[in-house]
Amino acid sequence: MGVGIQVNQLNAWFGATHAVQDIQMDVTANHATAIIGPSGCGKSTFVRCLNRMHETIPNARVEGTVKIGETHVYGNGTSAVEIRRRVGMVFQKPNPFPTMSVYDNVASGLKLNGYRNRRELDEIVERSLRQSALWDEVKDHLKKKSGASLSGGQQQRLCIARALAVEPEVMLMDEPASALDPISTSKIEDLIFELKQNYTIVIVTHNMQQAARVAEFTAFFLSGKLIEFDKTEKIFTTPGDKRTEDYITGRFG
């Protein structure tokens, strides 16, 4: 089962650029939460702070607290690697490992951590591929096809399967469908709909219909600040902030 996320006074910088400012947010377990906002408003930076990916960028800095379940993400003695195992991530552009087969891609998170049980790996790979609705398309050449030889939409579902295989509790998705065609997009959306029964999902999107379709909660970001965070329905019908309304009605300058 997924766990909730509590974000408190979160600030993030790139050098002198203050990309994320004073974010306060509680993400409910086993639900999908959408992050919307114009390009460059800090959506990616925000979610990358949740699994400590932000600190991999030179000169990047984070302050504030994030709790995944009971674990302090930025606590002393918490290892980034441990957090990233519990918090899966799917990126905007599909990034399968080009040197690995489909099977190895899915198993990579476990194999690269020294997990060697063949039978269980087979099981986990199959389950993850079924969960990401890719199994039927790849089951005949699991170990023959390279991950890079799949289509864009398949690659993204492969990346989701890869993230699922390490059995995370939270799944971060940074515009997972923005580089895909409409059919692949709808497959990914169906997938999110299913996954949120077992995982806490945070999905960044610039597509508001998508947010409305898959997420129970929606957060609106603007210039690095969290402007409004509420039930999706509330945000899209009776937003409390003028700027939110301007944005979702497309009147945004």
Binding site: L110, R127, R130, D190, L195, Q209, A212, T237, I248
Partner: protein, 342 residues
């Protein structure tokens, strides 16, 4: 506030609720325990850092060993070592001047021959030749760089020197003898032969770096010049060469660095006599060559020490030249390959 309209536009999609995947998601989650890694990460980092530090250590060691093994000679001769010409192992009197002279003259000769050719080749391959020839031509110039020094020497001794002796030297003596540069005995072997072989050896590096900096000139610069009605040559001169000149200067100096330190081919061709002569036909001796020839035979401590000091002088000269060249090339190419986007 137009609430009902918004609601209509963003109604959750009912189709999504009845997905065919429902049965596969209800899998009980096992906890997979994986190894902790913090120690391994730190260890790996330090191991790589160790490798990087070893590069610094090697350079420090080079300096230390050179000073250590030349102490005797440094004390015995001081600065005089650089300014006297005597090289007399029997009486223990050593000076590096003749070698410094030979090194500088052979290298400058090489530059005079190599630079125009290299710029010509680089221009031809980047700007003029049909696209299809570009790859093969660059590959052939690269091959020139892959030929070992000893093979250049071998070829020089058995092919180049006879040609020089029979055809080139008589010609030069007859028509340019009045300059004083082409007088005396025509052995074939000598400063001229060494300069020519060095030129051939540094052409690849000067060419390839020149080509690199020329390709780094933005196309807009070329088009800008062509647009005002310039000919191809004017475009190359104004649009390309002028913009690339710092980098080309760097390439030339880097070539000079190579020539100064080149050993075996020069040793086989220069004649190995520590004399300072005006004629390019006369034999000479370089810093590198005297080390190559005499190091394993030097039995006296002072003799050995003087040879190491020769090495120190060579190191200092090439270090200076290379640093200047690096800075010039770096100012163009920004030092390191930039991280690929995405």
């Amino acid at each position: 506030m137009n609430g009902s309209l918004l609601k209509a536009r963003y109604q959750p999609d009912p189709a999504a609720a009845s997905s065919p995947l429902a049965e596969t998601t209800q899998v009980p989650r096992r906890k997979i325990h994986l190894k902790s890694s913090r120690l391994a990460d730190a260890g790996f980092r330090y191991l790589m850092l160790g490798c990087a530090l070893s590069v610094l250590a090697i350079v420090v060691l080079i300096v230390r060993e050179l000073f250590l093994r030349s102490t005797l000679s440094l004390h015995a001769f001081g600065l005089k070592f650089l300014m006297t010409q005597s090289w007399d192992p029997v009486n223990g009197d050593f000076g590096a001047l003749a070698f410094i002279y030979g090194t500088l003259v052979s290298s400058l000769l090489a530059l005079i021959l190599a630079v125009p050719l290299s710029i010509g080749v680089a221009t031809f391959t980047t700007e003029l030749c049909p696209r299809i020839l570009r790859g093969p031509l660059s590959y052939m110039v690269e091959l020139l760089a892959a030929i070992p020094s000893v093979i250049y020497g071998l070829w020089g001794v058995f092919v180049l020197v006879p040609i020089l002796r029979q055809y080139v030297q008589p010609f030069l003596a007859k028509y340019f003898g009045w300059t004083g540069l082409f007088g005396g005995y025509q052995f074939g072997i000598g400063m001229l032969a060494a300069g020519i072989i060095l030129a051939v050896m540094i052409i690849p590096i000067v060419t390839s770096i020149t080509r690199e900096v020329m390709s780094a000139v933005p196309t807009a610069q070329r088009e800008g010049v062509l647009a005002i009605g310039a000919t191809r040559w004017e475009m190359i001169r104004v649009g390309v060469l002028r913009n690339a000149r710092t980098g080309i200067m760097g390439a030339i100096i880097l070539g000079l660095g190579r020539a100064l330190g080149e050993t075996i081919a020069v040793t086989m061709l220069i004649g190995n006599r520590p004399e300072i002569a005006k004629s390019l036909f006369a034999p000479g001796y370089t810093l590198a060559s005297v080390i190559a020839n005499e190091f394993s035979e030097a039995t006296e401590d002072l003799y050995l020490s003087a040879l190491v000091e020769i090495g120190l002088v060579l190191f200092a000269i090439t270090l200076l030249v290379n640093i200047v060249a690096q800075l010039m090339v770096w100012s163009i190419t920004r030092g390191s390959a930039r991280r690929a986007a995405v």
